[in-house]
Symmetry: C2
Subunit: 136 residues, 2 copies
């Protein structure tokens, strides 16, 4: 299961003790485990990212970032999708806390929830751009 990694640390000279290599690997695994994101937090965080993992929803968020506030019909027209599909996606965005809604007459206006959303997208785009030019 455990095997040699980057550091080629040799086992101790005394043959009675278990080899240091294994201890070393156990230690790294322990270190990783201690600071590990616990499953619940990992799920919560993953859920946030999942909401942004759809091109249609990203386009909705971008449209809202630009215009500020729009009703469902306009958002649908702007991104070029059906009003029903747009409504479904807006619900996910709202449940995920990425956008907020406000009723105005018979329409419902949506806006981006806070500045963290724009920041998150900016960082993601920057990472994406920097990836284009460096090789593994």
């Amino acid at each position: 299961m455990y095997h040699a990694g980057v550091i080629e640390r040799k086992a101790s000279r005394r043959s009675e003790k278990p080899p240091d290599v294994e201890t070393f690997h156990r230690d790294r695994i322990e270190l990783a485990r201690e600071s590990m994101l616990d499953p619940d937090d990992a799920d919560q965080l993953a859920r946030r990212f999942k909401i942004l993992s759809d091109a249609g929803r990203l386009r909705i968020v971008y449209a809202l970032l630009e215009v500020g506030e729009m009703c469902v019909g306009n958002i649908a027209a702007a991104v070029g999708s059906s009003e029903s599909a747009t409504s479904h996606q807006l619900r996910q965005l709202r449940d995920g806390g990425l956008v907020r809604s406000r009723k105005a007459g018979r329409s419902v206006n949506y806006r981006v929830a806070d500045t963290h959303v724009r920041l998150l997208l900016d960082v993601a785009i920057e990472h994406y751009l920097h990836e284009h030019g460096s090789a593994s």
Copy 2:
């Protein structure tokens, strides 16, 4: 299709011209469309977020951020998953440019690709924390 939004701008008094309201909405939609993320870029960006939208992969990335570099077996042990599943997930992370690999003997060591990844996760966590306490 287009309907009244936040601003309750009334139509012009002259009945021969089309109402301003519709023009207004057409303008917002145009504005949103012009700055719109084009479908290809939206797909690329969505793909990045999709890679981070799984709790298991997030835990892998966190383990690597802490330890720096680990081989597949150790990563699997740290996150508590099978080596096969971990290998599958590492491939996605690598294809997405989030981690890089380096062969060392018969094992393969993985590390986080660049500092943008940590930044992205930090921003996401901050957003997640700030969401806990504000209502819609």
